[in-house]
Amino acid sequence: MIEEIGTTELGELVVNLGPQHPSTHGVLHLVITLSGETIKKVEPHLGYIHRSIEKMCESLSYRQFIYVTSRMDYLSSHINNHGCALCVEKGMQIEVPPRAKVIRVLMDELTRLASHQLWWGAMAMDVGALTPFFHAFREREAINDIMEKTCGARLTMNYMCPGGVAFDLHPDFQREVKAFLAFFHGKLDEYDELVTDNVIFQGRMEGVGYLSREDAISYGCSGPTARASGVSCDIRKLSPYEVYDQVRFEEVTGTGGDCFARYKVRMGEMRQSISIIEQLIDNVPEGDFQAKTKAVLKLPKGEFYSKVETARGEFGVYIISEGATTPYRIKFRSPGFSNLSALDHMARGHKIGDLVAIMGTLDLVIPDIDR
């Protein structure tokens, strides 16, 4: 590796961005080859926060391994848990009660909102505007409070379990979520005023980090990153799980493929999430919040795959079972890893400041990439 770094052409500068750097949002290490300010090559080095979660899961029961995935993409931990629970339910052929389905989707969308808010603040900070971060946190705090009251935790909720959710909603839940929506509605317009309509911000975003439709597909991008390039890839639309086929929402896609398109897609997704929550919040059916399941789950021999749409893209869970109480092998398909692979392609020829902006619009969460 050292030799490889040493070989540069005359006048090129190799800079290590990270693993400790303010804008990599974690321990991502990028080796950048620069010619002046222009980026020639970006080489991500991974592994600084590798915890071998996939291997760990092999020694955990089917009830336990779900909660380890909260620590992967910690910003959409609930959706990760959802993906795992879906996979176990598929294997065990458990029918989830309708109430649990709606609760799951409600929590998914709240998680997505919280994740996108954090992304919005962090991305504005990447391009040098420090104030939006605090505005984003003000709204995110309200969601975290709802989470805390419902699940007992603010970030890694661990609310899912195979067959439904761990416990029922509290009686105030609907009122609190409605209060939050009323509070949040005007704030999105405020976001637009402060950041989206800013000339400097648009100048930093437009035409930067272009990813064509073909490239987005061949790099395996998913989520808002791919949708901004015009790829229709929303799992909630393509293979609807839970009650996503019963709610009305649009798949937000862009055509630009640049940073601004990715930004717009995420902003649009926030509005769609609000719309989904509004449709479901008054229609939570009565009934059980959890299906009756055996105390010890044993998946039948075979291979099972399920996928969900996290805030960053497609999250897949692949379980190979030998019929024991623990999985034989687990593989997670994390959206961040594939999205990061396109970084070099997008950043070449741009300036250092653009690299940071591109990383911001990719919405990288490093524990999701490293697992």
Binding site: V15, H21, P22, S23, L34, L130, G203, R204, G353
Partner: protein, 358 residues
């Protein structure tokens, strides 16, 4: 009335009574020097606190509120902490230049304070090329920044310093042309003359639209020259960690920090002097009653008030705007601001020759 001029006069009279004239002059020099350094330090503390409070209220926070009443002693505590920290010199750094750079920057900031008129009659050095001196000396600070970037033996520092060099040298032009347009109106480079010429109205109001344009260009250019957001590319913490002062710690970092804030004060003071009449009170035409009331407000308050309003505007920029990219930054200067300020200077010259200003 208690004004700085009266206090200075009484001190001068007392010293001349107590000592021989040459000793008195020497003592006055020492007093003025001590006063300038004290002012410098207090200014840094006040401005850092102000920035933290302004940013806090813009960001729905409270800001420092633990040390002293309302957090007013927070910056004092921070300075003590910085003074006690170890000043690290990185391996492979050019030790001489590395240690010299912060002093270079701070000395430049102190030198520019000399010709600024703080109140009626209180000016350290009323040199006849005052405003030219300010422009000339302020462009020296880029040398300190380049030195720091080069001597740190750090790639981030080097990139930051190169950005800073390109930026300061470019924006110097626009700032210079804006200053020139007021010099054309006044006919003098001496700061006291420029202030005196605004006795019956500030140039911002008297000089028609060209004065307003040059005021706006001046504000943009000096924001860039002091490396403040949205032009803080030299330190761009999300890109270059801390830019040219990445490797500095302890008191040497504090000097860079102090110089940044003193520079903000200086550029705002110059803007206030050129466009808002320095310490001149606000006078409106023939409203003699109103003008009389305005005259009762001490001139130092007028000067500091105007300066701090401008400082607030510059802080407002920082906490609202995202950062520009380096090519956009240079585009803005060379493609828009420079042609505009050249044209504006021509227009201003025409106005001055024809005597169209009020």
């Amino acid at each position: 009335m208690l004004s700085i001029e009266n206090i200075a006069d009484s001190i001068d009279a007392w010293l001349n009574r107590a000592f021989s004239p040459s000793v008195a002059t020497l003592l006055e020099g020492v007093l003025v020097g001590l006063g300038a350094i004290t002012f410098f330090a207090v200014l840094g503390l006040v401005l850092v606190l102000m920035e933290r409070k302004v940013s806090a209220y813009m960001q729905i926070r409270l800001g420092p509120n633990r040390v002293g009443p309302g957090g007013s002693l927070q910056t004092v505590a921070d300075t003590l902490k910085l003074a006690m920290k170890e000043g690290l010199t990185p391996d492979g750094a050019d030790k001489f230049l590395f240690n010299l750079a912060p002093f270079m920057v701070i000395v430049v900031a102190m030198l520019i304070l000399a010709p600024i008129a703080f109140a009626k009659g209180s000016q350290l050095w009323d040199i006849n090329i005052g405003i030219l001196y300010v422009s000339a000396v302020s462009s020296l600070s880029v040398i300190g920044i380049l030195m720091a970037g080069w001597a740190s033996n750090n790639k981030y520092s080097l990139l930051g310093a190169m950005r800073s060099g390109a930026q300061i040298v470019s924006y110097e032009l626009s700032a210079g042309f804006s200053v020139l347009s007021i010099v054309v109106l006044t006919g003098s480079l001496r700061i006291s003359d420029i202030i005196a010429s605004q006795q019956d109205g500030w140039w911002l109001f008297k000089g028609h639209i060209p004065a307003i344009i040059s005021f706006v260009i001046f504000l943009i250019a000096v924001t860039a020259e002091t490396n403040r957001a949205p032009f803080d590319l030299a330190e761009a913490e999300s890109e270059l960690t801390a830019g040219f002062h990445t490797e500095y710690s302890g008191m040497r970092f504090a000097l860079f920090f102090l110089a940044e804030y003193v520079n903000i004060f200086i550029v705002c003071a110059i803007a206030a002097t050129l466009y808002l009449g320095g310490w001149m009170p606000l006078h409106i035409g023939h409203w003699s009653g109103f003008n009389l009331v305005m005259d009762y407000i001490p001139s130092s308050l007028w000067f500091l008030g105007k300066t701090f309003i401008l400082i607030f505007v510059i802080m407002w920029f920082r906490w609202t705007f995202p950062r520009l990219r380096i090519d956009q930054l240079l585009d803005l200067e060379w493609k828009y601001l420079l042609p505009l300020s050249l044209f504006n200077l021509l227009l201003m010259t025409l106005i001055a020759i024809e005597g169209w200003h009020f």
